[in-house]
């Protein structure tokens, strides 16, 4: 049954849709991926650059659908670039001829096949690189055998897989359901053969790709990014638990690439929209502040993600224009929305707009104080999804929320830490009295690997009040104390992922992680 789903997925994918899973297949066959072009049209005819198991350079061009003679004539020049333009990448020796492979999830018509054969014969005689072709049939059998061969445990819940696969792609991602499904792929036990972990990771990535195609088709890049962030978190949990970062790096890198692609598309769509409206509903204005806040968070987090992974093009003036344009339209609507604002704070700080950045931080703290001490309701805590918060605001909750939030905050410690680190002494002094009435809560997973899970089975929920009389110098000192043992190795290895994790799992934000990320983002500023 799963085979039919894979077939359905493959037939309906465009070239971007099967690019990452195809790379995962290459990894399993011993290739090392050197470059993936996730940002749009291919570069010099090459969508993927890899080294095969004998370290021969290979360039792949991906196409979707059948290739008829007409279509072949249109793409022939691109294929010639694939064949004849040497790979221009620092990791590849240009003097070594590369293998060129055209991949399609459809078929080649007979005339096209004959023309490729004839051209290959001619190129062979001239000692030139020939074109290899992978078509849909072979691709499908490769994907199916990857799943048959590599699924270490049976899919626990076939029904949940189908439900997720057929879930309407225009919706927010059902995180709990996705997490539960992917947990079924997670290898059980404490000690496990590294090969099995690699295979489990590959399956995590392949099944994620199948499931996320619904969002890909709907161009719902928000949910697509969320999905890949959760898939990556699962990979990091495996790597952390089984000490397998080296072994899982190819899968993790691919997953990060998929996030990059989704966020890049989300940014493009947001920046191109004249007013962020997209449907014809009369009520769309009601959700606009939520949409704007989410976008501000995702766009700035994406730029910081690029910064932390060393991308020199991380700064984008258009993101600043976006923040300025919608500055009065954003809204803190729950503690789960605070990472959007903290990300905005960091982005502004990093580009030197410190005054504006600090204003964002004071707005966050003011908002926490106001909702708890004046409105006496508090902010909905980060364990509730954004849709629940939105439903609560507009009175559309199916079941009332029976948990009380007043005078308890999962984020207060983190934002006080940031305020102390950024020297907002006068502001904090003016707010300290109400601050001390609010209980600070944080969840500390017992095992570091559980940090990457949607819900950790083990760990303690710790709460306490800020000190009533607090020394500023001690507060500053504490805010600069970093204990690396508090951090999962995954955060140190992939610091760019931490801020993305909070977008999707805001309950994972802790002051210890905030201190680490603040150092990473603002250290060279």
């Amino acid at each position: 049954m799963i085979e039919r789903v894979i077939e359905n997925w493959l037939i309906n994918s465009d070239e971007r849709g099967y690019q990452i899973p195809f790379c995962q297949l290459l990894n399993l066959k011993g290739y090392k991926i050197v470059h993936i072009s996730v940002h749009g049209p291919f570069e010099q005819g090459k969508d993927i650059i890899a080294l095969d198991s004998h370290k021969n350079p290979c360039a792949f061009q991906l196409k979707a659908g059948d290739i008829s003679l007409d279509r072949w004539r249109k793409i022939r020049s691109e294929v010639e670039e694939l064949l004849d333009i040497p790979i221009n990448h620092p990791g590849i020796d240009k003097t070594i001829p590369h293998n060129a492979i055209l991949v399609t999830n459809g078929t080649l018509s007979d005339p096209v096949r004959r023309e490729i054969d004839d051209r290959n014969e001619s190129r062979k005689r001239k000692g030139q690189t020939i074109l290899d072709v992978i078509t849909g049939g072979l691709l499908l059998s490769d994907f199916i055998s990857a799943n048959e061969k590599f699924v270490p445990t049976e899919i626990r819940d076939i029904q949940s897989f189908f439900n997720l696969y057929t879930y309407p792609g225009i919706n927010p991602l059902p995180k709990d359901k996705l997490f539960n499904f992917l947990s079924g792929i997670f290898p059980p036990g404490n000690k496990i053969d590294k090969k099995k972990i690699i295979l489990a990771a590959a399956n995590n990535l392949l099944f994620s790709a199948y499931l996320f195609s619904t969002y890909e088709r709907a161009k719902n890049y928000w949910s697509l990014a969320d999905g890949w962030i959760i898939a990556t978190a699962q990979l990091l949990a495996m790597a952390e638990k089984y000490n397998a970062y080296e072994e899982l790096q190819p899968s993790i890198d691919l997953s990060l690439k998929a996030i990059d692609g989704a966020l890049s598309n989300l940014q493009k769509e947001a920046l191109e929209s004249p007013d962020l409206l997209q449907s014809k509903s009369l009520f769309e204005g009601m959700i606009l502040p939520f949409r704007t806040s989410i976008l501000a968070g995702y766009l700035t987090a994406y730029r910081l993600f690029l910064l932390l992974q060393g991308d020199k093009g991380w700064f984008d003036e258009k993101v600043i224009d976006f923040l300025n344009k919608y500055r009065d339209d954003i809204k803190i609507f729950s503690e789960g929305s605070l990472p959007f604002f903290i990300s905005t704070f960091w982005y502004l700080n990093r580009i030197g707009e410190k005054e504006a950045a600090n204003r964002v931080l004071t707005i966050i703290i003011n908002s926490i104080i106001y909702t708890h001490r004046k409105e006496k309701v508090g902010l909905i805590n980060p364990y509730y999804e954004h849709e629940t918060a939105l439903r609560s605001f507009i009175g559309l909750l199916e079941d009332p929320i029976t948990e009380t939030f007043v005078d308890s905050s999962y984020s207060l410690d983190s934002v006080i830490t940031l305020a102390a680190r950024h020297n907002l002494k006068a502001f904090l002094a003016s707010m300290w009295r109400p601050i001390t009435h609010i209980q600070m809560i944080e969840f500390i997973p017992k095992y570091q690997w559980e940090t990457f899970l949607y819900r950790a089975e083990h760990g303690k929920l710790e709460s306490g009040f800020p000190k009533q009389t607090q020394s500023w110098s001690k507060l500053v000192e504490d805010s600069h104390t970093n204990n690396e043992t508090d951090l999962p190795r995954g955060f140190r290895r992939y610091p760019q992922f931490l801020i993305l994790l909070w977008l999707v799992y805001p309950h994972r934000m802790r002051s210890a992680y905030v201190r680490y990320l603040d150092d990473a983002i603002t250290k060279e500023n």
């Binding site: 969840f443 083990h458 710790e462 306490g464 009533q468």
Partner: protein, 199 residues
């Protein structure tokens, strides 16, 4: 499988479960006033007390059992089911309230704020003594006290309810009460003044 209507049954089960949860939560006036925190993950809870100590939460399970025979099920109406569920809720709420009060008793004993009357009658003096020992907060804007709730056994209430009008009208009692409340206000003010960021 016999002919069935699982969606309808699931909906009714869901409704009755919600009613049970609601009745448990709202069935006792003190429990209904308390803040409710959910632990969404993990297996431990540690909390800080006002005096800066850390305490581990001792989880307690509350449950109640009721039995219905197969014969009985055939004739159960929605009204019958609601009655049974409400009885379960009442039992659970009672257990929760008893546990809560015994925990409060233990904590106040440890903190030295409990008073043992040793079987003596509850007088206005007792009331003032209780008031002296509790921590009263005031509204920052109106300056009005957030008076604590006084919970008593119905038998005790029956004994003192006739005395309440006299306590309220006695000028000496009123003076002493106001004196304590002024002191409480000053205490609160001092406490609040200590909430500050210093160098």
């Amino acid at each position: 499988m016999l002919p069935d209507f699982p969606n309808i049954l699931a909906k009714l089960d869901n409704l009755i479960t919600k009613r049970l949860q609601y009745r448990v939560r709202m069935g006792d006036p003190i429990i209904s006033m308390a803040h409710h925190t959910f632990q969404h993950e993990g297996d431990r809870m540690v909390f800080g007390t006002v005096d800066g100590k850390q305490k581990e939460m001792d989880y307690k399970q509350f449950e109640s059992v009721f039995q219905i025979s197969r014969e009985e099920i055939k004739s159960l109406t929605i009204g019958d089911i609601i009655k049974k569920i409400d009885a379960v809720a009442e039992e659970m709420t009672g257990n929760m309230a008893r546990t809560m009060f015994s925990t409060i008793e233990q904590i106040t004993k440890e903190a030295g704020t409990s008073i043992d009357q040793g079987g003596k009658p509850f007088t206005f003096e007792t009331f003032l003594e209780v008031l002296e020992r509790v921590w009263i907060d005031y509204d920052e804007e109106t300056g009005r006290p957030h008076m604590p709730s006084l919970v008593m056994h119905p038998n005790l209430y029956a004994k003192i309810k006739d005395k309440l009008p006299e306590w309220e009208s006695n000028p000496e009692y009123k003076r002493r009460y106001e004196e304590i409340m002024k002191r409480k206000y000053r205490e609160w003010y001092d406490r609040e003044s200590n909430r500050k960021l210093v160098d």
